[in-house]
């Protein structure tokens, strides 16, 4: 099997703060990590490889040069090869432009690594939270897709995916090639090994620019190709206040409380 895992380098949101004046993320001093959901996609690919050791895992990411650190992290955990998709004209892409560029990049990487049987993505990035890129890649490539997967296993010539529904799980069979996006599985993501970590550190990661992506329409990339415009961002303000209700009698207190709750549209 030949698996492509799409990953994104994101700021560690457990440590992130928002500038109260500019409403932008304060990135200084915040460590970058591989998007958590993408690590679930990588772990699932690794499990497929555990069962079929001739499987190849290729990890790709669109981002600046520093995203190579995230790719190296993936090499240390399970990936065999990594490609960085990077170009100034890709900057400022929204999910539509990003998924277009990634689908073109996947076609290019296939010329180097052979055709992919499946494209794995995290269900969403923990910084943008849109959950759109994976499904859009499937549309661009015209592949079937399964979202919110907990686990995907090879079943003959197809893939058997356990999907997390709103209340229950369901098992879906999907033909390959396909796109699967992953949510948190019931198992842990494996740790890197020292040996893989050392090899990853030395790995040369090729940068793929718009020049390599023959036939890419740059008008569909970057800010120009992005119909989404962010009007504003803000930190929701959570206020809590205490109201004491103490009337002459318990009955009166209860009536007053019901009135207050009703006015506040709580009941």
């Amino acid at each position: 099997m030949n698996i492509c895992v799409c990953i994104k380098q994101v700021p560690d949101t457990t440590e992130i703060k928002i500038d109260p004046v500019k409403h932008t993320l304060i990135r200084e001093g915040v460590p970058s990590i591989v998007n958590t959901y993408d690590t679930y996609a990588l772990e699932n690919a690794a499990r497929i490889k555990d069962a079929a050791p001739d499987t190849k895992i290729v990890v790709i990411s669109m981002g600046p040069e520093q995203a190579k650190n995230a790719l190296k992290e993936c090499l240390a955990i399970a990936a065999d090869k990594a490609y960085l998709i990077t170009d100034r004209v890709f900057g400022g892409s929204d999910t539509l432009a990003t998924s277009y560029i990634l689908s073109e990049a996947i076609r290019y990487v296939e010329t180097q690594e052979g055709k992919f049987d499946m494209i794995f993505c995290g269900k969403q990035a923990i910084d943008g939270d849109t959950a759109q890129v994976g499904p859009e890649i499937a549309e661009h490539l015209d592949y079937p897709q399964v979202t919110y997967a907990l686990e995907a296993v090879i079943d003959g010539e197809s893939l058997r995916v356990t999907q997390q529904g709103p209340e229950e799980k369901q098992v879906i069979g999907v033909e390959i090639p396909c796109v699967v996006t992953f949510t948190q599985p019931p198992f842990d993501v494996r740790y890197p090994t020292i040996r893989r970590k050392m090899a990853a550190n030395k790995a040369q990661i090729p940068s793929v620019t718009s020049a390599e992506l023959a036939g890419i329409d740059v008008a569909r990339c970057g800010l120009k190709g992005s119909p989404t415009h962010v009007k504003s961002t803000f930190v929701p303000v959570h206020e809590s206040k205490l109201v004491l209700v103490k009337e002459e009698t318990v009955e009166d207190s209860a009536k007053k409380l019901i009135g207050l709750l009703s006015d506040a549209h709580v009941i």
């Binding site: 494996r190 740790y191 890197p192 090994t193 020292i194 040996r195 970590k197 050392m198 550190n201």
Partner: protein, 379 residues
């Protein structure tokens, strides 16, 4: 002596740290309370390569160095000294003498499963009547032509029980004292070998400490490690290296205790102020941090000297002496800052104080370290 850390050391340290925080710390109090050997984490460490750090890839190791190994023991010991010593005893006391003194066949047969973590290792020198005084040991090995027969017992053996491969010291020529000791590689499955009493300890309770018993234990001829009657040298060289691992353990305990204390004194309020706002707290923390940083430099220097194939016996002894004394001192002072809460099992500081004490005793007491250090000064 120059010591350098490169990016790889920093990255691996992050990896050790992440593993320690996510997997080791959550069970540290439980394995201490129940005296439980943390098999699940030993398996995970094996998978990651933590049980073969300073050995060449040719023998299944990772190809990293003693500095990275020391940093691994340090990171583990920040949250759980028991886990730190499991790695240290396995690496320094069993895999290392086989790497340094073993034949090519012995390395293939025993070192490879040790470095991959498939099998855990231990080292047996101490006996009820012989520890520091190695020549006082009563375990004997008799040459029976095509095999050796071992009789006797060992005590206080770290990893004794869970370990499957043991480096055992025994008298092969009683008349010659230290020059009549030989080292052997003994498998747990050899006939006549058994694991005896499990020690109940004050600290490092998650690590196994057991008695080993040899009753007409048959050891193949080819399992003599190093030359006949050269076992004392094997033991001394092994313990020299082991001191780096244990100094790193002591260093980690002190750092872990300081980190817990910094967190606590910022939260705990007395007389309307946090403890951190009192000058006594600030001065205590400053002194502990400075002493711990000094110990750290000694530990890393000893590890780097070993990596550079420079003499490191005295450096390792100084690192262990200073780091162990510092661990006991720091954990005691940290507990004092915690006050009554520190004396309870609600906080890890009392465990850290119990764990610290052993670092002044095992693999050469502080007094032995002073003998080694002054011996090198006065020769």
């Amino acid at each position: 002596m120059e010591f350098k850390q490169d990016d790889m050391h920093a990255e691996l340290r992050n990896m050790y740290h992440e593993f320690a925080e996510n997997e080791v710390k959550p069970i540290a109090a439980e394995i201490d309370k129940n005296e439980r050997f943390p098999e699940e984490n030993v398996a995970k460490m094996a998978e990651m390569g933590l049980l073969g750090i300073p050995f060449p890839e040719k023998y299944g190791g990772t190809g990293m160095d003693n500095l990275s190994y020391a940093q691994c023991v340090e990171e583990l010991s920040k949250v759980c000294a028991s886990t730190g010593v499991i790695v240290s005893a396995h690496t320094s006391l069993c895999a290392m003498p086989i790497y340094l003194f073993g034949t090519e066949e012995q390395k293939k047969k025993y070192l490879v499963p040790l470095t991959s973590g498939e099998k855990l290792g231990a080292f047996g020198l101490t006996e009820p009547g012989a520890g520091t005084d190695a020549a006082g040991q009563r375990t004997v090995a008799v040459d029976q032509g095509d095999h050796w027969v071992l009789n006797g017992s060992k005590c206080f053996i770290t990893n004794g029980g869970p370990a499957e491969i043991y480096v055992i010291l025994a008298m092969t020529d009683k008349e010659k004292g230290n020059h009549g000791i030989s080292a052997f590689i003994v498998e747990k499955s050899f006939p006549g070998f058994s694991v005896g009493k499990h020690e109940e300890k004050m600290g490092i309770r998650g690590s196994a400490t057991s008695e080993l018993i040899f009753e007409d234990c048959i050891v193949p001829k080819e399992n003599l490690l190093g030359e006949l009657n050269q076992g004392f040298k094997v033991a001394m060289v092994t313990l020299d290296g082991g001191r780096i691992g244990l100094a790193a353990q002591a260093l980690g305990i002190a750092e872990g205790a300081i980190a817990e204390t910094v967190k606590y004194v910022k939260e705990r309020k007395q007389f309307g102020k946090t403890l951190a706002q009192f000058q006594n707290t600030q001065f205590e923390l400053a002194q502990m941090q400075a002493n711990t940083e000094a110990a750290k430099l000694l530990v890393y220097q000893a590890a780097c000297a070993k990596d550079a194939h420079e003499p490191y016996t005295q450096l390792a002894a100084m690192a262990k002496l200073v780091a162990a004394q510092n661990a006991s001192d720091v954990t005691r002072r940290c507990l004092q800052l915690f006050g009554g809460y520190g004396y309870t099992r609600e906080y890890p500081i009392e465990r850290m104080m119990r764990d610290a004490k052993i670092t002044e005793i095992y693999e050469g007491t502080s007094e032995v370290q002073k003998m080694v250090i002054s011996g090198a000064m006065l020769k």
